[in-house]
């Protein structure tokens, strides 16, 4: 039998050890979180200095970068939640495309006869646009719920399920659209009022991305939904044993990713007035890349929504800067690839520290 005194001495001997380890962990974590932002700032600084003045670091150009990033940010938010549950969603680009086709077709057909729309006349835009937006979001959410249901009810790996729906969403989308562009652009009011519209001098779609970013950040860190997401990624079986409805939560998380892909589809139609499967084939990799570069662990349990958003900017800033510099923009792919490897390495080191 042990006396109280002995037990206390055990604690006091361990105490400094534990404290020290946490401090080092916190330092590594802070570094892991901030290196990306520093990298992005350095990148912007580099392009600012290396491009002719008045080209890169202008309001118009930065706004353009933000606009180009807004869709990926939405996808990356959903992907963050999914990856934090220790899952993966390869289908979100396909869901985006399918939702854009579904919503776009509805908009076009509701807005006028095919003769009218081919001639650029959209007499019923007022009805067509809101219904089309609803269809985009509904289609995206539905695909997300399908993913989640297949993963939990059939007990299949998320990689396989979403690889399957990745193919299906592109296939169905191309079947509906005929494999090319929509028969005519979506009603121009959508782009003039929203896609190319401005609020206080900033493109409207950027506000949508910022809105969902803030909401997702708060949900992730301050609500029960975020807590369960992390708990499931940390220890799925243990979370189940505490009585939490794990399957239902996982379905919701994939549903959320689908919902956000649906919102991104609305942005896609609003910004580009049309859509093709070719332009979305690698959206899933952009989103996953952004999440990983952003500091969310592929092993689940920990993540950051804001980091994913910063991560989403790395490719677009590179692309934009290299084009202005007239360097082959293919370098963007090289640098982003290296950044993904580096990010995962940092995460691994952090985990090894924590597990020691």
């Amino acid at each position: 039998m042990t006396s109280k005194a002995e037990v206390e001495s055990v604690e006091s001997e361990e105490a400094p050890h534990v404290g020290e380890r946490t401090r080092r962990d916190r330092a590594t974590e802070a570094l892991g979180r901030s290196w990306l932002l520093l990298f992005l700032i350095a990148l912007i600084g580099y392009f600012w200095l290396s491009t002719p003045s008045g080209t890169f670091l202008t309001w118009t150009n930065l706004e353009q970068i933000a606009l180009n990033t807004s869709e990926v940010i939405l996808l990356a938010i959903g992907e963050t939640f999914v990856i934090v549950t220790a899952g993966i969603d390869l289908s979100i680009g396909g869901i985006l495309f399918f939702s854009a086709v579904a919503g776009g077709e509805v908009m076009i057909h509701l807005a006028g006869t095919s003769e009218q729309t081919i001639n650029g006349q959209y007499p019923h835009s007022g009805l067509a646009i809101p219904v089309g937006i609803a269809v985009c979001i509904l289609a995206g959410t539905t695909w997300g719920l399908i993913n989640g249901t297949l993963i939990t009810k059939l007990r299949l790996p998320p990689f396989i399920v979403t690889l399957g729906t990745f193919g299906m969403t592109f296939g169905f989308g191309d079947l509906i659209s005929g494999g090319s562009y929509l028969p005519s652009p979506v009603p121009p009011a959508l782009s003039s009022h929203f896609g190319n519209g401005k609020i206080l001098g900033l493109s409207s779609p950027i506000y949508v991305a910022i809105f969902f970013l803030i909401v997702a950040h708060v949900v992730f860190h301050h609500t029960r939904f975020g807590r369960y997401t992390a708990a499931i990624g940390s220890n799925q079986e243990g979370t189940r044993r505490t009585g939490i409805a794990v399957d239902r939560h996982i379905i919701k998380v994939y549903g959320l990713a689908g919902f956000l892909a649906g919102v991104a589809a609305v942005l896609d139609l609003a910004i580009f007035t049309n859509t093709t499967s070719v332009s979305h084939q690698t959206d899933n990799l952009s989103a996953i890349g952004a999440v990983v570069i952003g500091g969310t662990s592929l092993f689940g349990g920990v993540g950051t929504v804001l980091g994913s958003a910063v991560g989403a900017f790395v490719p677009t800033v590179l692309q934009n800067g290299l084009v202005i510099e007239a360097v082959q923009p293919f370098w963007q792919e090289v640098v982003v690839g290296a950044a993904i490897i580096l990010a995962v390495y940092v995460d691994q080191v952090r985990r090894r520290r924590a597990n020691r």
């Binding site: 042990t2 206390e8 361990e14 044993r241």
Partner: protein, 257 residues
């Protein structure tokens, strides 16, 4: 001359049987838990210890036999129902979410929310939970300086302590511990044994499954020996010895029924 009838046992398992396919895990398990005792279940590998406690904690269902709480027969369909009876289990693998802090783990699945309207959106009252977690740690004399570090960064004994604290914080009557010291070093084990005594002193009953007989003798009030799925005997610690219990576990020592 009518003596008052003794109060019914807190929990009783009568003639419990459990098969897994052709394998018989429990043939005839009997077990009686008194209020406010530490009751160890011991036995060799395959004796049915884990099966028995998993039936009590609602993970498995008995094929036949009866479970009674306060003398009333009950069915425990799942872990959630076990918790409704005031039974909490500390699993051998602890079932902690490593990336959450101790406070988060303590409240996992039972989060405290901010007052309305924030509660409608599931906003967590982290401050209140942290405060309550600190109180709980203090009540159990668990030396964790900060309840907001991920349990990943805690030592084995401290992680065990968090899992135990969670069970005690919510268990109103019975705490089941499955091999609570199996993964721990000597010093950490002694910390957990102190914790078990602390739980008893808070008025709860503890069912403890263990391989480690010296530890069993250090904390248990009574010991039930299982062998090949049968309850061999239940003994007061004071009326037996470690050697006898080993003999009964292995069958070398016959027990007079």
């Amino acid at each position: 001359m009518t003596a008052p009838s003794p109060p019914p046992p807190l929990l009783e398992a009568r003639n419990v049987q459990k098969h897994f396919g052709r394998v018989v895990a429990l043939r005839e398990a009997n077990f009686t838990l008194r209020p406010n005792e530490v009751h160890a279940i011991v036995g060799d590998n395959g004796a049915g210890k884990s099966t028995l406690i998993k039936i009590i904690s609602g993970v498995y269902h008995a094929d036949s036999g009866e479970i009674a709480i306060d003398g009333r027969p009950v069915t425990i369909a799942n872990p959630r129902e076990a918790r409704e009876f005031g039974i909490e289990t500390v699993y051998q693998d602890l079932a902690l979410a490593d990336h959450l802090d101790s406070s988060g783990n303590l409240f996992l699945g039972r989060e405290q929310l901010r007052p309305p309207p924030l509660s409608w959106f599931g906003f967590l009252d982290k401050k209140a939970m942290r405060r309550r977690a600190q109180e709980e740690m203090r009540r159990l004399k668990i030396g964790i300086q900060s309840v907001d570090q991920p349990v990943l960064s805690l030592s084995g004994g401290q992680r065990q302590a968090v899992a135990v604290a969670r069970a005690i914080a919510w268990g109103r009557r019975i705490v089941i511990m499955d091999e609570p010291t199996a993964a721990l070093g000597v010093r950490e084990s002694s910390m957990v044994l102190e914790l078990i005594k602390e739980v008893r002193s808070q008025g709860l009953a503890v069912i403890m499954v263990s391989h480690n007989l010296p530890e069993v003798f250090a904390v248990a009030d009574r010991i039930t020996v299982l062998r090949l799925g049968r309850t061999i005997v239940t003994l007061d610690k004071s009326e037996t010895s470690l050697e006898d219990v080993v003999g009964m576990m292995t069958g070398a020592l016959a027990v007079a029924a």
